[in-house]
């Protein structure tokens, strides 16, 4: 086990995912303390930088979900303060967190992601983009999923099963971000593959490794919603997912590919759909600050791989320093 370090745990913030972030942070804190590290919990707010500076920590553990925590903002600040931190750097955060950008990159690289079209609010207000919607309907077909380009809360994610539901769904999604995307709805099984830089020693040649696939099986709702994602008992998680070996291998291979394509480091969770009719895999999105609560998918997947939560957290700390060394 590595030496005792002074670790700032960044959590909370003002995003819609504040509550989940506080729970992720609390869980990480508990684990860090069990590991014998010195913990400085920081609820990200207007005094974040002051608190970081005065805490004089060795490393920051980013458990901050939602916009500021995942879109590269906090990572950029930590770079400026020369504090090593867990997870991906600013560029990977920006590429992953903006779903439109991530999907464009995946499309270019030939990674299967559900067909989509993106609309900035300004294109509708100033460029008459509404007139393009019929074409989008013809292209994607119903049902469709409408999502804010940035944001991890399922609150903004809407379904439209017919043409007349689309305007309301779009207006709803625009409440969470200035750009929304309309995506073909893939019906099938919800899968998540966490990828970690699997090298406990922090060697520079550590390789991205996929953890076992987790399947989220909604218990009541027909959609795997925000509540069920974070509440014990609302969703059944199966880990490792019961899948044919080839499908598991393909899901893991896709996840590692996306992880590398977006330039992620430390850890990320890639969400996929296994389409029922075609049995094809589609990559939906990448989470660069995956949940670390007791019920979150990453700790469960690591556990299934024989990596306990302590080892997982230690590894994330190690990769924080490793990335910093590598980029110098």
């Amino acid at each position: 086990m590595s030496a005792t370090r002074r670790v700032a745990v960044l959590k909370g913030g003002r995003s819609l995912e504040r509550a989940v972030s506080l729970r992720s942070g609390a869980h990480v804190q508990e684990v860090l303390e069990r590991l014998g590290h010195e913990v400085v919990p920081i609820d990200a707010g207007p005094d974040l930088v002051d608190e970081l500076v005065s805490a004089s920590v060795d490393v920051a553990f980013v458990a901050l979900h939602g916009r500021e925590g995942e879109d590269g903002t906090v990572q950029g600040l930590l770079e400026a303060l020369a504090i090593p931190y867990t997870g991906s750097g600013p560029a990977a955060c920006m590429r992953s967190t903006n779903k439109v950008l991530a999907k464009l990159i995946m499309e270019e690289a030939g990674v299967p992601t559900p067909r989509f079209h993106a609309f900035p609010e300004t294109s509708i207000k100033e460029l008459g983009a509404a007139a393009a919607i019929p074409a989008v309907e013809d292209d994607l077909g119903f049902p469709m999923v409408v999502k804010p380009a940035v944001g991890g809360s399922a609150l903004g994610v809407k379904f439209a099963s017919a043409s007349e539901e689309l305007p309301g769904a779009l207006v709803g999604a625009f409440s969470y971000d200035r750009t929304v995307l309309i995506e073909r709805y893939v019906e099938g099984r919800d899968l998540a593959v966490s990828v970690i830089d699997a090298d406990p020693d922090g060697d520079l040649d550590s390789r991205a490794t996929a953890l076992p696939v987790v399947e989220a099986v909604p218990r009541e709702e027909d959609f795997y919603d925000y509540e069920s994602r974070y509440e014990i008992g609302m969703t059944t998680f199966v880990c490792p997912a019961e899948l044919p070996a080839a499908t598991t291998a393909r899901a893991q291979e896709l996840a590692v590919r996306v992880y590398e394509l977006l330039g992620c480091s430390g850890v990320a969770r890639i969400d996929l759909m296994l389409e029922r009719d075609t049995e094809e895999l589609w990559v939906l999105e990448t989470n660069v600050v995956p949940g670390m609560t007791e019920t979150s998918l990453l700790p469960q997947a690591a556990d299934a791989a024989g990596i306990g939560v302590e080892a997982l957290v230690e590894q994330m700390l190690a990769s924080a320093s490793a990335r910093r060394v590598a980029t110098r």
Binding site: I124, A130, I133, S175, Y176, T295, G306, G308, E310, Q315
Partner: protein, 506 residues
């Protein structure tokens, strides 16, 4: 995936996560499935910040209570009843406090026997104890739609199935209730009680008419059902005649004894005095009351004697105008809240205008506003909290299925200063118009498809999306300040309207 030795240090303790999860999950009671936090609630928690004007609270304005009087009363309790205040009290409540409750009930025009009163820890505990006493998993509670959002988690925790009856300007339509009861009977399902907030309903802001009150009591008698009459605001009436409680109507119907045998009455000091006291009460038929008393023993043994004695001291005070201090305080609250209600009505007319309809509460704390049906108020809250700094309760919180009420919102006026009411409604109005304008642009685009017209010809903007409609209920749509405003809880069905228009276009 290399599962062997990929990480060091995973001893037995290190494998906690998934195992902890399973361990707790296996231990949780089945009823916890229905207990869930919601993203909406978490979002609302984010609005508790000084720079946010919150019209979301259910709060009375406790700043109006005179500080000197509070200090004096607490000092009297401390000096005069130290040992008693600090000791456990009887489960049914202190006799001196029950006497005050009888006085409040009399002011509501309702005679009750002290022996039929149970002092509780807030009105909320009455809902809990009634469910504890009456509800087996799967039993049915019939409630109003929308209903008091705070009752929903209690009903869920007891695994009740809730049937909600859509209200109109006169509260719950009883013919609709009867149809529901018939259907439940045919389905072999068992309603246990009818839950209603007859005065200035939370969240709907409407009041059940006298005719419906009488009919409700008859229906309950015919079908041997109990009624839970939740009446926190009855004394906070700003206009119109006070209506008799369901309890008193039933007592009249019973004749002679002067007590009801099917109404469980819920009262509280929270809105006429202070919610921080956590004191409410139930008046109920004796067999029900006895079970509720046993239930309360299991919950908290007794409500706080400190606050019960505070109330007793308070009810002995004379006010500045020579009457009982508590009644004068309620009169002052009425004046204070009426001004805020009026400010809210003016602000709604100015800032919501044609974009919404809303109720005109004759009392209480809340207004219920309903927007264009394509606007989802949960999303509107997300936008408004971020760009405008304002909060309200999205309507879905008032529906057990969490689906209906999506275009409505509950607005509190009682706990908010007039300037903030005006500013807050203005902010919501701005966010709403932003969404309506976007909807206008989007639907204009959609019509182009059916007509083959260019975007330039398409009328866009808010007015287009919410233009008048023949199905607006009577009284709706008036925006003249001071004129009677919409006394309705529902907007016309915009979607159908739109579909019909599209159909014609084709």
């Amino acid at each position: 995936m290399d599962r062997s030795g990929s990480a060091g240090g995973h001893g037995p303790r290190a494998r906690a996560t998934a195992h902890e999860l399973e361990r707790y999950e296996a231990l949780f009671a089945a009823r916890t499935r229905g207990m869930k936090s919601s993203a909406m609630r978490e979002m609302m928690a984010l609005t508790e910040r000084p720079d946010v004007i919150s019209l979301a609270g259910g709060l009375p304005d406790t700043s109006t209570f005179p500080p000197e009087l509070y200090a004096k009363l607490m000092a009297q309790v401390a000096a005069g009843s130290t040992a008693r205040a600090l000791q456990y009290g009887p489960t049914e409540g202190l006799a001196v406090t029950v006497r005050c409750i009888v006085e409040v009930m009399a002011a509501e025009g309702t005679e009750v026997e002290p022996s039929e009163v149970l002092v509780t820890t807030g009105g909320q505990q009455v809902i809990d104890l009634v469910c504890k006493t009456l509800i087996d998993p799967g039993d049915v509670i019939v409630a109003e739609a929308p209903t008091y959002p705070g009752a929903v988690p209690t009903f869920s925790a007891y695994q009740a199935e809730v049937e909600q009856i859509e209200m109109d300007a006169d509260g719950m339509p009883i013919d609709e209730l009867e149809r529901t009861l018939d259907r439940l009977h045919a389905e072999g399902r068992r309603p246990k009680f009818i839950y209603t907030v007859p005065n200035f309903q939370n969240p709907g802001g409407v009041t059940m008419s006298i005719a419906r009150r009488r009919r409700l009591v008859e229906v309950a008698r015919e079908r041997e059902l109990l009624i839970l009459e939740d009446n926190p605001y009855g004394l906070l009436r700003y206009e119109g005649e006070a209506l008799p409680t369901l309890y008193s109507l039933d007592a009249e119907a019973v004749g002679g004894r002067g007590t009801s045998d099917l109404v469980i009455y819920l009262g509280t000091f929270s809105k006429i005095l202070a919610p921080g006291l956590r004191l409410g009460w139930a008046v109920a038929p004796r067999p029900v009351l006895e079970k509720m008393n046993l239930g309360k023993q299991g919950s908290d043994l007794c409500s706080s004697p400190v606050t019960q004695l505070f109330v007793a001291e308070y009810f002995d005070q004379r006010g500045a105008r020579g009457g009982p201090a508590w009644l004068e305080y309620v009169e002052d609250l009425r004046v204070h809240y009426r001004a805020r209600r009026d400010a809210m009505m003016r602000a709604l007319a100015e800032h919501f205008g044609d974009g919404a309809v809303w109720t005109h509460p004759q009392g209480g704390l809340f207004v219920w506003a309903t927007l264009d049906e394509r606007i989802d108020t949960t999303d509107l809250l997300a936008l408004a909290r971020k760009t405008e700094g304002v909060a309200f309760v999205p309507g879905r919180a008032a529906y057990v299925d969490g689906r209906r009420g999506g275009s409505s919102m509950r607005l509190n006026f009682a706990g908010v200063a007039e300037a903030d009411i005006h500013e807050g409604i203005g902010r919501i109005g701005r966010a709403m118009r932003q969404q309506l304008a976007l909807l206008g642009s989007l639907t204009a685009g959609r019509r182009d498809r059916t007509r083959g017209a260019g975007p330039g010809e398409a009328p866009a903007g808010a007015e287009q999306a919410v233009d008048g409609d023949a199905t607006v209920p009577p009284g709706a749509g008036s925006t003249e300040p001071g004129a009677p405003l919409a006394d309705v809880v529902e907007l016309p069905r915009r979607g159908e309207h739109l579909r019909a228009r599209r159909g014609n276009d084709r």
